[in-house]
């Protein structure tokens, strides 16, 4: 019998579930493997193993939803993408409100079934050892929150397009667009603006919900067998936003025309957005690819040559424009005067974009902060020409003056340094130096610059070498710098090394420091050395959860002038110095 509740129809709900029964049956069978693998595992079933399994499930949940959840939503709304089926459904005596709510509930039910099956089995198996109820509830919150995001985004994509293929494409575009955009902005800023590093534009990830929530929300272990949910607020916010998105989908569906089934984009006002979006992203993505393929060998890929990149972007943009036009028109025939204006605008847009970027209107390329604006600086050098990789950090005036002079010299030589020939395609690896600046300003902001170059002039060489003398060189020992953690000191060359203990390390460092303060400097040749020190640098400006990503390796050959150091090394049995004088 037809349901009396006008917002829900039992027959349609049942039809939606039974119509895809192989999908959720097979997935449920596979989901059973999770609790059974815990039970059959080496440690058997225990609270700890159940919690570990829940953590794995929570961690992998976004990936699972991006496949299974998306398929479930696509199956529910496929009638919108098949003209004949749309006609049949909309001829039925069901209101759109009823069809929509029943469809959403169907999607959620289909997705939840495998979770429910696995959960029941897990609870049953863990009864003898005590069900970790708190962990299970927290996991349920993660699963349901992320499920809501998946259903909301999938339904939204289904509503705005008339094609199931487009729905799937749009779903992944929306989930990864922000991250992808971040990457594109980074690559173009690096390519056009000398010294601007690509990582300046982190922070768009929150616009890609499944990625962001997947990274931010985790089930963490606590004391004993307790757990806590990291990212609760993020989950709650995105859950609420998902509900709002579902409401938006309902509004779209109420107004959606039946004749839009089969269209690439079914909402008329979004068609220009789709056309522009595809054109812009094609220009940026294909432009870079074409440039790498066609001009990378000749010009390198580090810094873009203006005319070639304009041509490549214009070609990529035109391809995107034409493909999007074909999809919207459902015809290959878009090479007509009607689309000429759009094509011309695409080319013009590419030219303007490249010229504006190259013009550096914001003056970012030449910017060096004033001394009184800066509270501290960190300089990371990767340079085989200047002996290895190291990190310098400090706030002394002398250090600031040294590093800022280097930066100004690099900026002054910009035109030469960005010429073809100074890129990895044409130069050998050992000619390269990379200097990464990070100024921490008094205002709390940070300014970062990254320079990759081959040393081309005496002033530049002089400044680079000055970073290896005096106070700057003593800083390589990273004494009194808590952010540098000494991993260890090894005696001997690359082929036979012996690690020193902590007491010997302290005494050796004191001797080296005393010699260096007296002006006796070690030689730092990567191939021949007496001892090596390895440090991990944990950037105090980064959060606890982000990994320390900088390593400093200091390899020293001890000359005779470093008497204290040589005396100490002999005292601990090392006498095979690589330097005779």
């Amino acid at each position: 019998m037809a349901s009396k509740i006008s917002w829900f129809n039992r027959t349609l709900y049942k039809k939606n579930l039974t119509g895809c029964w192989p999908l959720w049956v097979i997935t449920s069978i596979l989901a059973c493997l999770v609790p059974l693998s815990v039970w059959a595992g080496a440690d058997g079933i225990s609270k700890a193993s159940v919690i570990t399994a829940l953590q794995v499930v929570c961690g992998g949940n976004p990936f699972f939803l991006n496949i299974y959840g998306l398929i479930a939503v696509a199956i529910t709304w496929r009638f919108l993408h098949q003209p004949r089926r749309t006609l049949m459904m909309h001829a039925l005596p069901l209101s759109r409100n009823c069809i929509f709510l029943t469809g959403v509930l169907s999607s959620i039910t289909v997705i939840l079934i495998p979770y429910a099956v696995a959960c029941v089995i897990l609870i049953f198996l863990s009864i003898p050892v005590g069900v970790p109820a708190s962990a299970m509830l927290q996991s349920a919150a993660v699963i349901f929150g992320e499920l809501l995001i998946c259903v909301a985004m999938g339904t939204f994509c289904a509503m705005i397009t008339g094609s199931t293929v487009m729905m799937v494409v749009l779903y992944f575009v929306f989930n990864y667009l922000a991250v992808f955009t971040d990457s594109l902005i980074s690559s173009y800023s690096e390519g056009f603006l000398f010294g601007i590093p690509g990582n300046n534009f982190d922070g768009l990830e929150f616009l890609s919900p499944m990625v962001y929530v997947g990274d931010s929300v985790t089930l963490e272990s606590g004391v004993g067998n307790s757990t806590y949910l990291q990212g609760r607020l993020t989950l709650a916010v995105y859950g609420l936003l998902s509900i709002l998105l579902i409401l938006l989908c309902w509004l779209i569906y109420r107004r959606r025309s039946s004749e839009s089934a089969g269209e690439a984009i079914s909402v008329r006002i979004l068609r220009p957005v789709f056309l522009c979006g595809v054109t812009v992203y094609s220009a940026l993505t294909l432009g870079r690819i074409f440039y790498t393929i066609l001009f990378g060998f000749f010009y390198g890929t580090q810094y873009y040559r203006l005319i070639p990149i304009i041509c490549c972007m214009a070609a990529g943009g035109l391809i995107g424009f034409l493909v999007a036009s074909m999809l919207l028109k459902k015809s290959f025939r878009v090479f007509d005067t009607k689309h000429l204006a759009g094509a011309a605008a695409t080319v013009a847009g590419c030219i303007i974009f490249c010229v504006l970027l190259r013009a550096d209107i914001g003056g970012q390329v030449g910017y060096v902060p004033a001394r009184d604006e800066v509270s501290s600086v960190t300089v990371t050098v990767n340079s085989d020409t200047f002996s290895g990789n190291y990190v310098i950090r400090g706030d002394e005036d002398a250090l600031m003056e040294q590093v800022m002079d280097l930066q100004r010299e690099l900026i002054a030589e910009k035109d030469e340094l960005t010429q073809p020939g100074y890129d990895s395609y044409l130069s050998s690896y050992y000619d390269y130096s990379i200097v990464w600046y990070k100024y921490k300003l008094v205002s709390g902001e940070t300014v970062e610059r990254n320079y990759r170059f081959v040393v081309t002039s005496e002033p530049l060489r002089g400044i680079m070498e000055s970073l290896r003398t005096g106070a700057a060189e003593i800083r390589r020992l990273h004494l009194d710098q808590d952010e540098f953690v000494l991993e260890g000191v090894w005696l001997g060359d690359a082929y036979a090394q012996e690690q020193l203990g902590s007491v010997q390390t302290s005494e050796l460092l004191a001797a080296i420091r005393a010699d260096m303060e007296d002006g006796a400097m070690p030689m730092t040749d990567m191939d021949v050395f007496d001892l090596s020190m390895e440090y991990i640098y944990r950037d105090p400006d980064r959060s606890e959860s982000s990994a320390a990503s900088l390593y400093d390796c200091y390899r020293l050959a001890i000359p005779q002038t470093m008497e204290r150091t040589r005396a100490y090394l002999r005292s601990i049995g090392y006498d095979s110095f690589v330097l005779s004088n």
């Binding site: 019998m1 037809a2 349901s3 006008s6 129809n9 039992r10 027959t11 349609l12 049942k14 039809k15 119509g19 004949r84 089926r85 749309t86 006609l87 049949m88 909309h90 001829a91 039925l92 005596p93 069901l94 209101s95 759109r96 009823c98 025309s257 039946s258 004749e259």
Partner: protein
């Protein structure tokens, strides 16, 4: 009553319905005819509440059909391109419609099984086109509709099944007062069942009458004039004029009596009024609307 007033529908730049005014009285069988691309299917989809009009109104029984589940529950349709769920058989579809249509009658469904000799358990995708259409009729009639809207309903059916289907529909009209709207190109068959006809062209209803009125208001005369009739026929308002020897055949949009009176001033040897078929009315009406048979030499 089915009524549309100034119904307008655009698909992008193309105007599919350009102000359709149609009235289908209760309990009648209305034949909607028109050339290809006239807008018949588009109009039907508005009547079913599938499309929403850009302007104008669509009412059945005085109620707007758009987003009106209670009204749509009283409408059954057999579209030209019907849809069944993949893997579904007649029984599956029956269960589905039973759960959706409040008026679905199980007893009727069982009785109609005798009329339609189809295997209920066999997947519908395995049926021929004609068998699928029979299944569509079976299910539609089981819904006990007050309004039955059909688009090319008997296309694909064998002659026996055609008669069977028409017979079932006519009995519904007679016993339950079902209002039927049929769109078809088979005018000879429509002529047997329809009591009202609407001719549609270029998104408009160009002519709408009861069939008897239509036949009364269009006449075919065969005339032989005493003298050369060329000059005479050119001054007479006729939808169509043809000549075979001295016999002129005139199709005129007036009653037979009026036509005869119109010819009274002229000396005629013979004037005979002949009945027009619906097909002829359609052809000659369309010819008047610049959609006639073209004499093309190939």
């Amino acid at each position: 009553m089915i009524e549309t007033v100034n119904l307008i529908k655009d698909f992008g730049d193309f105007r599919a319905l350009a102000g359709v005014d149609m009235t289908v009285p209760d309990g009648c069988v209305y034949g909607l005819i028109g050339p290809n691309g006239a807008g018949k299917t588009t109009l039907i989809r508005h009547l079913l509440g599938i499309y929403r009009q850009d302007d104008g109104s669509v009412k059945l029984g005085g109620e707007d059909v758009w987003e009106n589940p209670a009204l749509k529950a009283r409408i059954a349709s057999i579209p030209d391109d019907w849809y069944f769920f993949p893997q579904a058989n007649i029984r599956d579809m029956k269960e589905f419609y039973k759960g959706i249509y409040p008026g679905f009658a199980e007893e009727r469904y069982m009785k109609l099984r005798e009329a339609f000799d189809l295997d209920e358990r066999r997947p519908l995708r395995g049926f021929s086109k004609g068998m699928q259409k029979q299944a569509a009729f079976w299910l539609a009639l089981s819904c006990m509709p007050d309004y039955l809207i059909l688009d090319e309903p008997v296309d694909g059916l064998d002659p026996v099944m055609r008669r069977q289907v028409w017979s079932l529909m006519m009995s519904d009209v007679e016993e339950r007062g079902t209002t039927v709207l049929v769109s078809s190109h088979n005018l000879r068959e429509l002529e047997d069942v329809c009591d009202h006809v609407g001719i549609m062209n270029k998104g408009r209803i160009v002519l709408e009458h009861s069939l008897s009125e239509m036949q009364d208001n269009t006449v075919k005369l065969q005339v032989v004039f005493e003298e050369d009739g060329e000059g005479i026929v050119s001054s007479i308002p006729a939808l169509h004029v043809s000549r075979l020897g001295r016999v002129y055949t005139l199709i005129m949009k007036m009653s037979a009596q009026e036509a005869v009176e119109r010819l009274a001033p002229y000396k005629t040897l013979m004037v005979e009024a002949l009945p027009l078929t619906l097909e002829e009315i359609f052809i000659y009406e369309m010819g008047g609307s610049d959609y006639g048979i073209k004499d093309i030499l190939v």
